[in-house]
């Protein structure tokens, strides 16, 4: 029951990418300082249709097709945000985001700090990321850790239509720059009820998708799909629906260590799953935190199931790189059966 008269319940059956569109539509209609810029986002509605219909609704001044130049998309977003707009820039694929790094690292992430609060960059950079859709070279990588390393940025990854909607609204409302990475394998994989009531979800927080007593499984992005399937199957098979706890990290930076610590103290076992390459991946940060603070609670070593330290294979072989349900189940079984 929603008692908010200004934002009445309005449930819609939508996919993740439609939820993104819904959140953008909501934010644009509520706040005229919200603008969007990117390649093909106007008439074409974005190559994944995330901005479909928005230029028609809000006009070319607020939904701007840019020249094909990612550096100036990010740089212009820095300038726009300093000047009182809330730009949402779309980078068409994460593989093309690297041209924006200088602006994100040297400017957006530090404008507030280097002017001691005089100026700031309330902006969102959206980009689809990850593999599994048989895309061409450079269209499948997961490099969220690059951004997570940068002080001053927030990095957010949704894994369901409802979280895409609520977290994107939170990212737009946030007064600092947010890198919002959309797992494109989930863009249209499922359709769920999402309440288009303008309600943002909390940033800096993870989401406990399944509660459990025996093991903590941590993941984010597209891997959540396989994790959910494994957890539901293992819990059902064991007759214990509180066996495995599943945490969707969602906030890659900053990490909600309080929720993770609470869970590890309860279960004593942890498996981390991410599609990105292993070395210096975000999983390493979580494992290091557990080693620093939670060793006394651990019954078995932390396990990481990740992509390899290889170039993401082209799609003929990408299934040998991506994490399967069997990979996750094997790691959980091993963690449950190996005590220190």
């Amino acid at each position: 029951m929603n008692n908010n008269l200004e934002n009445p319940d309005c449930f819609k059956q939508v996919s993740l990418v439609e939820a993104i569109n819904m959140a953008l539509d909501y934010a644009m209609s509520q706040d005229e300082s919200v603008v969007m810029l990117g390649e093909d986002i106007g008439k074409n509605g974005g190559v994944f249709r995330a901005t479909d219909g928005l230029q028609e609704k809000f006009g070319q001044a607020r939904v701007m097709d840019t020249p094909l130049a990612e550096t100036s998309i990010a740089g212009a977003a820095v300038g726009m945000s300093v000047a009182g707009l809330k730009p949402i820039a779309e980078i068409q694929f994460m593989g093309f985001i690297y041209a924006t790094l200088e602006h994100l690292i040297c400017h957006a992430a530090r404008m507030r700090n280097r002017t001691r609060g005089r100026l700031s960059c309330p902006m969102v950079i959206r980009a689809p990321f990850g593999g599994g859709i048989h895309a061409p070279e450079h269209h499948s990588e997961s490099t969220e850790a690059l951004f997570a390393h940068i002080p001053g940025l927030r990095v957010v990854i949704p894994s369901s239509p409802a979280r895409a909607y609520g977290l994107l609204l939170a990212a737009i409302e946030n007064p600092d720059p947010v890198i919002f990475l959309e797992p494109k394998r989930l863009y249209r994989s499922e359709v769920h009820d999402v309440n288009d009531n303008g309600q943002a979800l909390p940033l800096d927080s993870c989401f406990t998708l399944r509660e459990g007593e025996e093991l903590t499984l941590i993941s984010w992005g597209a891997c959540i799909k396989e994790c959910l399937a494994v957890v539901d199957q293992m819990n059902a098979e064991s007759g214990n629906d509180k066996r495995i706890e599943l945490i969707d990290l969602a906030s890659i930076k900053p990490i909600d260590f309080a929720t993770i610590a609470h869970s590890i103290k309860k279960t004593g076992r942890c498996v981390i799953v991410h599609e990105a390459a292993k070395t210096c991946g975000v999983g390493a940060e979580i494992a290091a935190y557990i080693a620093e603070h939670l060793m006394a609670y651990c019954k078995s070593p932390v396990k990481r199931i990740t992509g390899f330290d290889t170039v993401m294979p082209y799609f003929r072989n990408e299934q040998h790189y991506l994490i399967s349900e069997l990979d996750i189940k094997a790691a959980i079984d091993e963690s449950l059966s190996s005590d220190f």
């Binding site: 550096t71 100036s72 300038g79 200088e102």
Partner: protein, 377 residues
């Protein structure tokens, strides 16, 4: 129209109006405005005095590495003076003159070069609240200028944006992308390339095979021109026109201001490693302050007595500013966390505590130890 290698110039190196000899241009009307020219002359002198003082302060360890603007005072001061207060200035890092004209305090400039973030924390009293801080990563400010200009257009404001950069920056993708976007979106922005012939040790001819840097605007259909950057009158006229066009929504413009870097790149550089003294001596004959001085003397706007007072006044102001700068205590160590995020991430709680402990361990305890030791001695 393709700009030619033929910069706009009104005064000869000796400060003589070129109209009589070359017959090219009538002097603009504003040369009859004595107070404007004297204002420009005073700012150019203060800029040079500030530079000399800043270099001396670096040599004695009172500030850090500093990039002198020696020889480029006309460009910088003309930029500052042509801007309206609510225009937005997007500087690079050799714009001390413009920053002073915008009303930034010298102690705050020193604070920035003295390694303190608060140097960029103040709204310049004759500038816009949106004036950007000094930009170190080369040419990136050009994209920010375009973003600000785009915001002003969307917000239906009539201000212009002025963005400065060096000749080296004109080689970077950021600048070329910014020009392209400014042209495509018809934005109210003026770019000024401060072509001082040297990007640290790389001379202008290695920077680009193009005969002029101004012509880089042509591919973006942006009007551009070369201007003698050591001629305040030419610079002020070109900037005034460019900014006026931008405010009138007539689109962007690029000015290539031709000058010469009479100093090292920064106090950390030694230009004698890569360029001959002859070249520098020759460039000194063309420097901007003497040129304007000769002109205002000829016009009867200025005399030796006024010159003496000006130099004394610059030194007095500088001494006061240096004292003010020196009196500003460093921030507490934990202040490094204060402006990272507006909404505090709980994940940083531990690190702030660690920062405080580290300070106690490394500094407070050491101070106590040394004072105790002194007492004992």
């Amino acid at each position: 129209m393709m700009p030619h290698n033929n910069p706009l110039q009104y005064l000869s190196a000796e400060g003589e109006p070129l109209t009589e000899r070359g017959g090219r241009h009538e002097l603009p009307d504003f040369v009859n405005d004595q107070s404007l020219l004297l204002q420009a002359y005073r700012w150019m002198n203060l800029t040079r005095a500030f530079d000399q003082k800043a270099v001396a302060l670096q040599r004695t360890g009172i500030i850090g590495t500093y990039p002198s603007s020696l020889g480029q005072e006309a460009i910088s001061v003309a930029c500052g003076m042509a801007l309206a207060q609510d225009d937005v200035f997007v500087p690079y890092y050799r714009d001390h003159g413009s920053l002073l004209v915008r009303g930034n305090l010298m102690e705050h400039l020193l604070l920035y070069w003295g390694g303190d973030e608060r140097g960029s924390a103040y709204v310049a009293k004759a500038g816009s609240a949106l004036d950007m801080p000094i930009c170190v990563p080369i040419a990136t400010q050009a994209s920010h200028a375009v973003g600000i200009a785009s915001a002003l257009k969307i917000q239906q404001k009539r201000q212009a944006v002025l963005c400065t950069l060096g000749d080296g920056a004109s080689s970077k993708g950021d600048f070329l992308e910014a020009l392209n976007l400014a042209g495509s979106w018809h934005l109210p922005v003026v770019f000024v390339i401060n072509n001082n012939q040297w990007a640290i040790s790389v001379p202008r001819h290695i920077q680009s095979g193009a005969p002029t840097l101004a012509q880089k605007a042509s591919a973006a259909a942006i009007p551009s021109m070369q201007v003698d950057g050591n001629d305040f009158i030419a610079m002020y006229e070109a900037l005034t026109e460019g900014l006026h066009r931008a405010r009138q929504r007539k689109g962007p413009m690029l000015i290539e201001a031709i000058s010469y870097r009479l100093s090292d790149h920064t106090t950390a550089d030694d230009a004698s490693r890569y360029r001959g003294q002859e070249e520098v001596d020759k460039a000194w004959k063309n420097e901007p302050i003497k040129r304007l001085q000769n002109f205002i003397f000829q016009r009867g706007y200025w005399d030796k007595k006024a010159e003496g007072c000006l130099q004394d006044d610059c030194q007095t102001q500088l001494e006061k500013s240096v004292q003010a700068y020196k009196s500003i205590e460093a921030e507490q160590p934990e202040a490094m966390f204060d402006y990272m995020y507006q909404t505090w991430p709980a994940a940083l709680d531990d690190q702030v505590v660690t920062c405080g402990e580290k300070y106690k361990r490394n500094y407070l305890a050491a101070q106590q130890h040394s004072s105790g030791f002194n007492k004992g001695a």
